[in-house]
Amino acid sequence: MAEFIMDDDQKQIRETIQRFAQNEFREIARECDEENDLPSDLLDKVWKLDFCSNIIPEKYRGHGMSRSVLNSLIMAEEFAWGDVSLTIGSLSPLLMMIPLLEFGTEEQKEELLSRFCSDKFFPATVAMMEPRITFSPFTLHTTVDISNDTMIINGTKCMVPLADRAEHVLVYATTAKGSGTASVEAIIVDKDTPGMIVGEREKNMGFRPLPLYPVVFKDCEVPQSKRLGGDRGIDYTRIINLSRANFCSMAVGVARASYAYALNYAKERHAFGEPIASRQAVAFMLAEAAMEIEAMRLLAWRAAWRLDRQEDATRDSTLAKMYCADQIMKITDYGVQILGGHGYIRDHPVEMWFRNGRGFATMEGQAIG
């Protein structure tokens, strides 16, 4: 039976995270953007919400609660409403933890999952994107040569969150360039492994508090035991889809933030003796944003729902990704436009959401939940 009403758990997740995002993210978002800062005490605060340990089975020292992709989207939307950079930074351990949970061998889970249940933020990350104009997650250029007992990684990655401090970097690389997603492996590379060179922190238009790094692999050699999932490997397409669904939900959160701010402004700002919202030219931008935010959310949720059912969600998440990337750009653009010249001034947050909005079309792989 099709229906679209949150259950009590989901409502509670939404309310809890919304409150948290308001108090902890929204308050400091602008300052963090100006300072390019992801405060480490914030990471610990978010960590205490147990977003990792909750869904890790008890035998690996987690709380063994059931995992739902859809619920993680509800959480991501609220966090991102507060601030998307702080969201991705805080949740970055999931980038490695989720693939490990889904595809890791028993030995790998035994060894690594308990670290995600520790009291302090455990930095771990993922390297998927590569610095070239024509990048697509479906065609990776980074290679891994798997011989008898070692693996050698070569290639250049970019936009790797928290690479400077990550204990492990999960690297996506292909065994045969040009042969599609089936040839993609996920390799766990530990901090300070020779041949893995973390570069200077990237400077991007938006997502400024989020520490993103280029990472170069030059004949980086790791043992076979670091191949996620062992001989079974991973379902790389599912990982892309998971990330896309989560990104879409974060796009909804950012769109909502911009829309709500512009709506309030349009009611308060008077011109020619009435609120500017009394003009259709302004009101219709807001109406369109309201309509599209709902559409974005439903598309993202459907991809998540499909992923929860362990079905192929490639079509759903690709359509959602393209759609949400277009809409978030439009809606955050409207946000600046409605504020007029004031929207261009950094006293207001709409220009920040506008810069962040553009990133959703580009970024792949940095959002898994």
């Binding site: 099709a2 479906f138 065609t139 009435e274 259709q280 009101a283 598309l299 459907r302 490639t314 393209m322």
Partner: protein, 395 residues
């Protein structure tokens, strides 16, 4: 809970509709388009088949099979599956006019039972009033001696007004009291004083008749009023009438999606014959303009469909859905209009030809952005709703 899976019964009904459309409806679609108003007595064998199919659908729909989706959602989904076959043939055939949706939304259980088997059209627009339905001048007066409503006035653009069994008519009890005095009445075709006059010639949906109806001292029983007969000036009796739109707007949105989906499927099939493929696992730089256009269309259709489903299912849960209903209709109708236009272009000279149905689908889909409130009226409703503005604050 959040679940995107339609009930097995609903899926079965969609399948029945699609099979029937391919076997019968699509074959006659062009014919009815070309002959417009002269078709009435021509294709009896088709009408018989449609009646048969319609009876089978109705029997299945009300078989009591569990689990089932809510009636609102079911009506919306069926509106799409019918429109996939033909924007309007199926609608005429399954006897689900917009009046039926209105009855379903606001009628009492007694009324629902009494009007259950009627094919009901909707009469709102008048020669001098379109989107501003508060300016309605058709009157309804209560004759206390006979306990009947006496209706006088003229309605235009009544969709299916010729083929229907009854019309849901919007009329005012007292023009001086503005929109709160506007009520809707079920007027069966056999009532004296009701006369269908003009049949319009249209851009599209030519299979469906569009007529003018004149009411001259047309009498209906007191019990044929939908909703309360009281004029609540403060609380807005008009809202009772407007509530019918909460049901009809998702249905019109669904109809738009059905036509857009049919057009897109056909276009993809023809392009595939030309060697195009439509993969979902390619980066932007690996897609050509045709592939990108098709993927964007698919995303827009999915987005609109989910808006329609959500708006319709909210009604089933007893939630207020005016905002969502307008969003669903505004989005779905607009994208259907654009998608069908784009598909005609993508198919080159063949798309423009009347050999194929694509050009017809483009003409047909345009109506969805016009009736039951134009796209611009929907945007006004949405904007007023989110801003908390009155008509005076946002004109």
């Amino acid at each position: 809970m959040i679940d995107f899976e339609l009930a097995p019964l609903t899926k079965e009904l969609i399948k029945m509709d699609h099979e029937f459309s391919e076997r019968v409806v699509r074959k006659y679609d062009r014919y009815y388009d070309e002959y417009e108003n002269e078709h009435k007595d021509v294709k009896k064998e088709m009408l018989d088949k449609i009646k048969e199919h319609s009876a089978a659908i109705q029997a299945k729909m009300f078989s009591g099979e569990k689990p089932s989706d809510g009636v609102g959602l079911l009506m919306a989904v069926m509106s799409e599956s019918r429109a996939w076959g033909s924007a309007y043939i199926g609608r005429e055939a399954t006897r689900m006019g917009l009046g039926n949706a209105a009855i379903n939304a606001v009628a009492t259980p007694e009324q629902k039972k009494r009007f259950e088997n009627l094919f009901a059209a909707m009469a709102i627009t008048e020669p001098d009033c379109g989107s501003d339905s508060s300016a309605i001048s058709t009157t309804a007066r209560l004759d206390k001696e006979t306990n009947e409503w006496v209706i006088n006035g003229e309605k235009i653009f009544v969709t299916s007004g010729h083929h229907c069994d009854a019309v849901v008519v919007w009329a005012t009890l007292d023009r001086s009291q503005g929109k709160s005095a506007i009520k809707s009445f079920v007027v069966e075709k056999f009532r004296p004083g009701m006369q269908v006059c003009k049949r319009e010639k249209k851009l599209g949906i030519r299979v469906s008749d569009t007529v003018s109806i004149v009411f001259e001292d047309c009498r209906v029983p007191y019990e044929n009023i939908l909703g309360s007969p009281e004029i609540h000036v403060k609380k807005g009796g008009f809202k009772g009438v407007m509530a019918t739109f909460d049901m009809t707007r998702p249905i019109v949105g669904a109809m738009a999606i059905g036509v857009a989906q049919a057009t897109l499927e056909f276009t993809k099939e023809k392009l595939e014959e030309e060697g195009f493929t439509f993969p979902y696992n390619r980066g932007l730089h690996e897609l050509n303009t045709v592939q990108k256009a098709i993927i964007d269309m698919e995303a827009n259709i999915e987005a609109s469909r989910l808006l329609v489903w959500k708006a319709a299912s909210m009604l089933d849960k007893g939630e207020k859905n005016s905002l969502e209903a307008s969003c669903a209709k505004a989005k779905a109708s607009r994208i259907a209009t654009l998608i069908t236009q784009q598909c005609v272009e993508l198919l080159g000279p063949l798309g423009y030809s009347r050999e194929w149905l694509v050009e017809k689908w483009m003409r047909d889909s345009k109506i969805t952005d016009l009736f039951e409130g134009t796209g611009q009226i929907q945007m006004l409703i949405i904007a007023r709703n989110i801003l908390g503005f009155s008509r005076e604050q946002l004109k």
